[in-house]
């Protein structure tokens, strides 16, 4: 089982994957509970537009991805304020903008192979630069999330009461929006859009089925994300599957199993106990 680690590319894949599996649910739990689950998709499409802009106008594509993603994240927050009861409108508008921009800007990219590598990203082809970038990003996200853990909880649960209780809503929102944008743009480049948007939602959705406290839900979400990532990498290596798709499908299957257990098996077992 350990022969997988004799390959340097797999060592890098595991280190990067584990770090991303730790930080993504931290962001994801707030995003899901704010009912903005599609944020990951919207921001990663905008970061793709940033990559296209970078390649077309010859500046660093990762910088382009980060800048476009930040602009998109603040765009979502701004539009959300105009439609307070319809948060999903903001995501739809920003996602369409990102897709439209990426489509037009990609037409100006001379080397399309280069653009495709940014489009899909691959966890088994991590460069030194990407590895260091993910390590630094993880330290920043873990620090910021620990620092603002309580404040993010209260703000997500009831923003109005949190403000009255003295939580600096604007500052916390600003830091969180920035963190989300940077996390998604860098992680999407490294592991691909598909993995990053699903790791934000699937572990949290699965953990929420277990009816635990907020603190426990965050911890369980991280454990689920680690399980999806590690088992996805193992399965893809030995079965020769694409790693991104495998990680996501392990997540989906786990969620189905948890839902089946909660809605069918536990109810049947409960009835038997009552009969006995």
């Amino acid at each position: 089982m350990l022969d997988i680690f004799q390959y340097t590319f797999m060592q890098r894949a595991f280190i990067t994957g584990i770090l991303i599996a730790i930080i993504t649910p931290c962001i994801g739990v707030v995003v899901v509970l704010k009912r903005l689950s599609m944020t990951g998709d919207a921001l990663s499409h905008n970061s793709l537009a940033g990559v296209a802009a970078g390649l077309a106008f010859e500046f660093n594509p990762i910088l382009g991805a980060v800048l476009f993603s930040i602009a998109a994240a603040f765009g979502i927050e701004r539009i959300r304020k105009s439609f307070p009861k319809y948060s999903e409108i903001a995501i739809a508008i920003i996602m369409s903008t990102g897709i439209g921009l990426a489509g037009i800007l990609s037409g100006f990219v001379k080397n399309s192979a280069n653009f495709n590598s940014f489009l899909f990203g691959s966890i088994v082809a991590i460069s030194d630069f990407e590895l260091y970038m993910v390590i630094i990003l993880s330290i920043v996200v873990i620090l910021a999330f620990s620092l603002l853990f309580k404040e993010l909880f209260y703000m997500t649960f009831d923003e109005e009461s949190a403000r009255l209780a003295g939580i600096p809503i604007k500052t916390v929102n600003f830091v969180f929006t920035l963190l989300t944008a940077v996390t998604i743009s860098i992680s999407a480049r490294t592991v691909g859009t598909l993995v990053i948007s699903s790791l934000m939602v699937l572990p949290v959705a699965t953990a929420m089925q277990l009816d635990r406290s907020y603190k426990q839900t965050v911890a369980i979400s991280i454990l689920f994300a680690l399980f999806f990532m590690i088992s996805g990498l193992y399965i893809s290596f030995y079965a020769n599957f694409k790693p991104g798709g495998t990680i996501v499908l392990v997540g989906v299957l786990t969620l189905i199993c948890v839902l089946f257990y909660k809605n069918v098996i536990s109810k049947v077992l409960g009835k038997r106990v009552i009969k006995a």
Binding site: S161, L164, A165, D211
Partner: protein, 256 residues
């Protein structure tokens, strides 16, 4: 008597349509003020202006003797809104997590509630009779129990004023009675000043010691001891109102 809320010549509206016109009133420490009136007369807006969630067109408001534009002691102000508007029932949070949240700004960054903070939480839950539910998920409680938890959440900061904006919407009669009993206890035993927006004229007439009535022709104060009759309600709502007097003591029900 110490004036704890002072409002003078307050105006608020959208475009040319003034919703609140030249509103002036004051609330003394320990008062239980009921705010009643038809829909659209600005009852909830008045609370939001006092909480600085919205800004007025003109006028002055003071809380605890300070102009609200420079007011900083928001932890001394409790606010309980309509549950349905502010709360996602599937949110994974326990009762104690929800109540402890109001202490977070005092606890500070990177620190978590310690034993003494949790004692404050359990004390607040005990006051509202919900201590035994502290480990339960908030979404698994009944509407009345949830609203008691939200009252505990504001009590944990030992507020001086408690604002409630139609807190009993969608709650069954028994839970409603329990919440009214709790508020009366907090007002009488702890001297907490209460300001409550409600449509339940009969209940608020029994519990409040002052009524602020908002109608189409502006505001007026009413002494609940004088009771409420059909003439009063008709003037308040701006259309013909019949009050059905039930057998129970001091009980008026129904607005038609």
């Amino acid at each position: 008597m110490t004036k704890i809320i002072e409002v003078s010549h307050l105006n608020f509206g959208y475009n040319d349509n003034l919703i609140l016109k030249d509103i002036s009133f004051s609330v003394d420490k320990g008062d239980y003020l009921g705010i009643i009136g038809a829909n659209g007369t600005g009852k909830s807006t008045l609370i939001k202006l006092l909480l600085k969630i919205m800004d007025p067109l003109s006028g002055e408001m003071k809380l605890l003797g300070e102009n609200i534009n420079v007011f900083k002691r928001w932890d001394k102000i409790g606010y309980v809104s309509q549950k349905a508007n502010s709360f996602n029932n599937s949110f994974p949070a326990t009762v104690e997590e929800v109540v402890a949240a109001n202490l977070y700004s005092k606890i500070g960054l990177l620190r978590f509630p310690n034993k003494s903070h949790m004692e404050q939480v359990y004390h607040a839950l005990e006051l509202v009779g919900m201590k035994d539910y502290s480990k339960r998920l908030i979404g698994n409680l009944s509407g009345g129990q949830q609203q008691r938890v939200f009252i505990a959440r504001v009590l944990v900061n030992e507020p001086e004023i408690l604002f409630l904006d139609e807190p009993l919407v969608g709650i069954d009669a028994r839970s409603e009675e329990a919440v009214y009993g709790l508020l009366a206890k907090l007002n009488q035993e702890l001297g907490l000043t209460i300001v409550m927006v409600t449509h339940d004229i009969s209940a608020i007439t029994i519990h409040a010691n002052k009524l602020l009535c908002l109608g189409e022709n502006g505001m007026f104060m009413h002494d609940p001891k004088e009771g409420i009759n059909a003439e009063f309600a008709t003037e308040l709502y701006g259309y013909s109102v019949n009050l059905h007097n039930h057998d129970c003591q001091n009980c008026y029900k129904g607005v038609s």
